[in-house]
């Protein structure tokens, strides 16, 4: 109780600071020429790495493609919601009413995206989800479009690969919240449909500093593999404990979604991760000319911070907004922009991707990768591709 009040107070204080530092742009004379895009991201707080990556991705797209589309100048407004859902909603309302943005985007976590849905619906403003990964979000507002990924999309290929590669029994360990449960469900359904057996589904509290008991339980059940999911940014502490418990030596293969082996942190996690198999929609080591130039430009623009899957969510989010504006010839009417976004397809640094015209969710390739040391650094090296996986049905 006490703590919740403190957190609320803190969030309020940070938000009011953020507001004070961003002058409201009220310039009616330029209203026709400028199109405003408002991103709501966690720039501070525990999910700040997500916000940083998405902002860097979005800004890189604008640096590479200019800030003018169809004769309109694009103005990016970044607002910090600190990862608190009530702030996301308030900031969305502000962006729509005060700043009169044409599109809102960002949303670092599932609850943050869900809180913005009603605002987008009422204001008829397209909302581009650039991070949050629970499959059901897009269906909650007709104005949601997604350029990140969904957990079932990234998880099911892992289950297929496991079943095809002599893994018969699995224990799953996920964070106990929306995306974690999504991931657990998708893995179990797909893996058991392919003849495998999930021995136990373990759920660790989201704010869990100590995984010892869960990992020991997994070890004692002696499965062929342990499937892991924790949100981006929390993989480090989990993997430290996985390494300490020597699961690999006990003959248990470590598999998971790419959230655990987040490119942003992978290098610091140590050599214990080498050999871990994950499935995901993006790796900084993806082999394509688009990705090579993306990674080198990103590293250069961001003081050698490595782009992760969040950054391509931001990059492709801006790409989608640009494409929609081109198609409407600069018309910023929400419904028209939304129509232009449906069915859009292009080649992203992650590979070919498209927005499903009926579900408004992302369709993209999912890759099976292994953690390897390349030139002294740890990377997720892709070795198999499952093409055109749908985000939701």
């Amino acid at each position: 109780m006490f703590r919740r009040q403190i957190l609320k107070g803190m969030a309020g204080a940070t938000a009011s600071l953020a507001l004070a530092s961003i002058p409201a742009f009220v310039a009616p004379a330029f209203a026709q020429e400028t199109v405003k895009v408002g991103l709501i991201l966690p720039m501070t707080g525990p999910s700040a790495s997500t916000g940083r990556q998405i902002e860097a991705g979005a800004r890189l797209w604008m640096a590479q493609n200019g800030d003018t589309v169809a004769g309109k100048k694009i103005q990016l407004i970044i607002k910090d919601d600190t990862g608190a859902a009530d702030q996301s909603k308030r900031l969305a309302t502000e962006l729509v009413i005060n700043d009169k943005v044409a599109v809102i985007g960002g949303f670092g976590l599932t609850p943050l995206a869900l809180s913005v849905g009603p605002v987008a619906t009422q204001a008829k403003v397209p909302a581009v989800i650039m991070a949050a990964g629970t499959s059901t979000i897009v269906a909650t507002s007709p104005y949601f479009v997604r350029t990140s990924f969904t957990l079932p999309q990234n998880t099911a290929p892992m289950a297929q690969w496991s079943a095809a590669n002599n893994i018969k029994t699995v224990v799953t360990l996920v964070s106990d919240y929306g995306p974690g449960l999504d991931s657990e469900k998708a893995f179990k359904a797909e893996f058991e449909a392919k003849g495998g057996k999930v021995l136990e589904t373990l759920r660790a509290p989201l704010m869990n500093p100590e995984f010892a008991a869960f990992l020991q339980k997994a070890k004692d059940l002696k499965p062929d593999a342990l499937f892991l999911f924790v949100p981006s940014g929390q993989g480090a502490s989990l993997m430290k404990q996985v390494g300490e418990r020597e699961l690999a030596k006990a003959g248990i293969k470590i598999i998971g979604t790419g959230d655990v082996t987040d490119d942003d942190q992978l290098n610091g996690m140590g050599d214990a991760l080498i050999g871990m198999i994950t499935s995901h929609n993006y790796s900084a080591a993806h082999e394509s000319p688009e990705n090579k130039s993306y990674v080198s430009a990103f590293l250069k623009a961001n003081n050698n911070m490595r782009p992760n899957f969040m950054s391509v969510g931001g990059y492709d989010g801006m790409a989608l907004i640009y494409k929609a504006l081109e198609k409407t010839k600069g018309d910023t009417d929400g419904a028209k922009l939304l129509d232009a976004m449906k069915g859009a397809s292009w080649t992203s640094p992650r590979g070919p991707m498209s927005i499903d015209a009926t579900t408004r969710d992302i369709t993209q390739n999912v890759y099976i990768r292994e953690v390897k040391k390349v030139d002294g650094q740890l990377y997720n090296v892709e070795f198999a591709t499952i093409p055109n996986v749908k985000g939701s049905n």
């Binding site: 403190i6 869960f214 300490e244």
Partner: protein, 286 residues
């Protein structure tokens, strides 16, 4: 089974070292210092900085973290805390929680909000067999260090001149002063040692838990649980409470994973209903 038990004990020991400084200031000096976690964070981040950037060996970081946090504690005690000793508890709470927010903002600014990771030296990783159970070398290391510290503290408090002076100063500061005991200095030293222990706990914690700027708030809950279950009048109370909580937490998560996370809170609620003054406290709470 024994493996799980040892894991729990290691976790409990870590909680104890992190919380014992708070127990000293709260129980002995009757001062509510919610900023205690900030000192632990200082020790943790110092270790991270020294190891990652200067390549200082891990074992050398431990005393460094103790000294750094102790110095920081001494400095703040002399300049800030001292003025609040005779203020009401509400003032103390408000003041120290303000310090927590300042510490969090500073760490966020300097290090960023992402989790910091330390790679332990090779001789502290791996596992050993111990009475038929297998346990991580590092956890064993934590158990030994924390066990020694707990015993040392208990001896200092009960069997040394400093300990008896401290207890005298706490029980009645005015009389103690009249007896020629330098109460101000004793409080300063005690506060510094308490902060230093938090720093050491933070440094030891880098090997098990991860550090981010929300650490002082995230762990404040655990400190307060340890203190409220163990009572504040002794060192052994919080020690046994920390072990109990660590073991219950780990066992709960192992055997009933569905409710595992709540066990620690259930125990706290039960203890507070049955013995509001704390499980191991001698008299009613002050």
């Amino acid at each position: 089974m024994l493996t799980i038990l040892l894991d729990g004990i290691a976790y409990g020991m870590l909680l104890f070292i992190l919380a014992v400084g708070l127990c000293v200031t709260l129980g002995l000096m009757n001062f509510i210092n919610l900023a205690h976690g900030a000192f632990a964070m200082a020790g943790g981040y110092l270790t991270i900085t020294l190891m990652q950037q200067s390549g200082v060996p891990f074992l050398a970081c431990l005393p460094a973290a103790f000294l750094f946090s102790a110095a920081l504690g001494l400095l703040l005690e002399r300049t800030l805390y001292r003025h609040l000793y005779d203020k009401t508890h509400l003032d103390q709470v408000l003041f120290s929680i303000g310090l927590v927010f300042m510490a969090m903002a500073m760490v966020d600014y300097a290090y960023g909000a992402n989790q910091q990771i330390v790679n332990l030296p090779d001789y502290l990783t791996g596992r050993v067999s111990f009475l038929g159970a297998s346990i991580g070398v590092y956890r064993l290391f934590v158990i030994v260090i924390c066990g020694l510290l707990a015993a040392g503290l208990q001896i200092v408090l009960t069997c040394t001149r400093f300990g008896s002076r401290l207890r005298a100063a706490v029980d009645d500061g005015r009389v103690a002063r009249g007896m020629g005991i330098d109460v101000t200095r004793i409080f300063a030293v005690t506060f510094a040692v308490g902060s230093g222990l938090a720093g050491l706990g933070g440094a030891l914690g880098t090997g098990i838990i991860s550090f981010d700027p929300t650490f002082p708030l995230k762990y404040m809950i655990y400190f307060l649980i340890v203190i409220s279950v163990g009572g504040t009048t002794t060192i052994t109370g919080p020690f046994l409470a920390a072990i109990l909580l660590g073991v219950a937490d780990v066992l709960g998560k192992y055997y009933v994973p569905a409710v595992g996370g709540f066990i620690i809170y259930t125990i706290m609620v039960l203890v507070l209903i049955l013995r509001p003054q704390g499980l191991f406290s001698r008299g009613p709470a002050r």
